[in-house]
Symmetry: C2
Subunit: 333 residues, 2 copies
């Protein structure tokens, strides 16, 4: 015999009050006489009643859960953001439906649709590219959306990032200041605005500032993976570049090790500044110099912003840039 699940109705009966009253005490509504509240609370405790969030969601049209679209949890950059997101979500009594997209437009769309079907109260999107399909879905749905560590070049969607242009510019300038004439720029897919627009721009600005020519041969477009980093070293070496700014830490550590295995000495033979300051940067030898980004905070702030949006609060500025920095460790002079 199935153990009956006990409902608000049972509590009401046992406490000799109406469902409405039970609902009020469960939801902390102040319009309940203390004595009544106590009585109801006792019954709730005795019956071990647990409100059904699904029913609640249907009745109130709020699910207190938000959807999080992430390229890959296994990537430390994104999982760091995710951790920030989850922590503040928890703080505000939300839960998170986490879905990996592999940055695949098809999957993203698919996932977005199930999230909306599940009536999430909001969505946090991570991913370097926002396909036009996604964009139009975003526009169409009235569910609030915030981008975390992902840019919307139109600035129509709320987002939390650092100033990638300035950060890369500063990183490249640092390398130039160290005497490097040929600084390679190694990053992911250039179709992604964060790379092709922002980072590349910062790179060019730094060169321009000191009158160095822009050389396409020094721009390396590859994928964000350890293997890709190892694999690309020979190509970089062939250009006589003496330094590189790299767009991803795994990629950078791959490059570092690839070069090291080829007997390059850091930082004397070659310098590297990577981009995310994830814990990987401290795990390599030498430790990697990096643009610093408050990864956890980007996630946290994004989620906080989302709570405001979900709450229909007025937002002064929905394109948030958090401070970045540069740490010099073992891969720069």
């Amino acid at each position: 015999m199935e153990k009956q699940t006990i409902t608000i109705y049972d509590v009401a009966r046992e406490a000799s009050v109406s469902m409405a009253t039970v609902s009020r005490v469960v939801n902390g509504n102040p319009n309940v006489k203390p004595a009544t509240r106590k009585k109801v609370l006792e019954v709730i405790d005795r019956l071990d009643y647990r409100p059904n969030a699904v029913a609640r969601g249907l009745a109130s049209k709020k699910t207190t859960t938000v959807g999080v679209i992430i390229p890959d949890v296994t990537n430390i950059y994104f999982s760091s953001l995710a951790r920030g997101i989850d922590d503040v979500a928890t703080m505000y009594k939300y839960n998170i439906i986490l879905a990996n997209s592999d940055e695949n437009g098809q999957k993203e769309l698919q996932v977005l649709n199930t999230l909306l079907a599940k009536q999430v109260d909001g969505i946090i999107f991570m991913g370097n590219q926002i396909s036009t399909n996604m964009r139009s879905e975003f526009a169409r749905s009235k569910t609030p959306i915030v981008l975390a560590g992902s840019v919307d070049s139109d600035e129509e969607i709320a987002s939390v990032n650092i100033d990638y242009i300035a950060a890369v510019e500063e990183a490249v300038s640092t390398l130039i200041r160290h005497g490097n004439k040929k600084v390679a720029f190694v990053t992911g897919n250039m179709d992604q605005p964060i790379n092709g627009l922002y980072r590349l721009n910062g790179y060019k600005k730094a060169l321009a500032k000191v009158g160095l020519p822009f050389d396409e041969k020094l721009v390396f477009e590859t994928e964000y993976s350890y293997k890709a980093g190892e694999a690309i070293w020979p190509e970089i070496k062939a250009t006589d570049a003496t330094a590189a700014v790299v767009g991803d830490d795994e990629l950078a550590i791959g490059l570092l090790n690839g070069a090291g295995d080829d007997n390059a000495k850091f930082p004397d033979d070659f310098e590297i500044i990577t981009s995310n300051d994830s814990k990987l940067t401290e795990m390599s030898r030498p430790k990697m110099s990096s643009i610093t980004q408050p990864l956890y905070d980007i996630g946290a702030v994004a989620m906080r912003l989302l709570t405001k949006l979900m709450n229909k609060e007025e937002i002064e500025n929905q394109t948030i840039l958090l401070p970045y920095g540069i740490v010099e460790r073992g891969t720069t002079k």
Copy 2:
């Protein structure tokens, strides 16, 4: 004016059929005349109808979402499992509510309760310890639960793991075979059965097999973190141990770098075998020898098992051990 959300009722009206019929076509029930199905499908398409999963959940008592309790997404070991979980969840049309617990009993309980309140169809629990509180909650709820990469010494709860005893025994034996007389055993909290019971046991068995004495001084209990690894090197060095089996990759890489920074040479001065074969093992220099575990698969199989449980299928064996191995890379001779 709010854009009215359109419901199954609207579709029914427009298609001049009953809600029940619409429901059937939406759910792929075969008892619908092809012509009717077509008509309904057209209306669905025209109205851009999207079934409300919350209402569905209430009516059907199934939410097609499972809860995943994870110590920390940021930890590559767990995020690898999580990725496996999410992929097969998606495959079976489930979504995942991901919640970080920090292995904190209080939080775990809290999270478990919200997950149950949200009526998840099943739960996957990761975490090295199952508090008695959690155990009794598990027992009380009729929601299926599977442990992933986490042992239940009572074997009452379904779980997916490798044979930690045998794996550690083999790792230690390997080190002994390489000529090491003093092999340190470095791992996390010994109160956790996976460490104090299983791994330690494997360690002892390996020693016993060749008649080496068990020396408590060679057992190091610390936390799973990079810093802890760096910090513990001096202590290990002081014991004249010449090798170590380490319970976690981040910890191991910390130890490796700590030792390296102290001018220890691998593998000549010291050998290390770590435990999880996460991608970190390939990122260190030298690369780390490791027990291999099919991390992704542990998650995937756990989720697959959970689907069976949720489906009330008969399970032959609910304590699954996946194959492990040993890869020797740069930290062993």
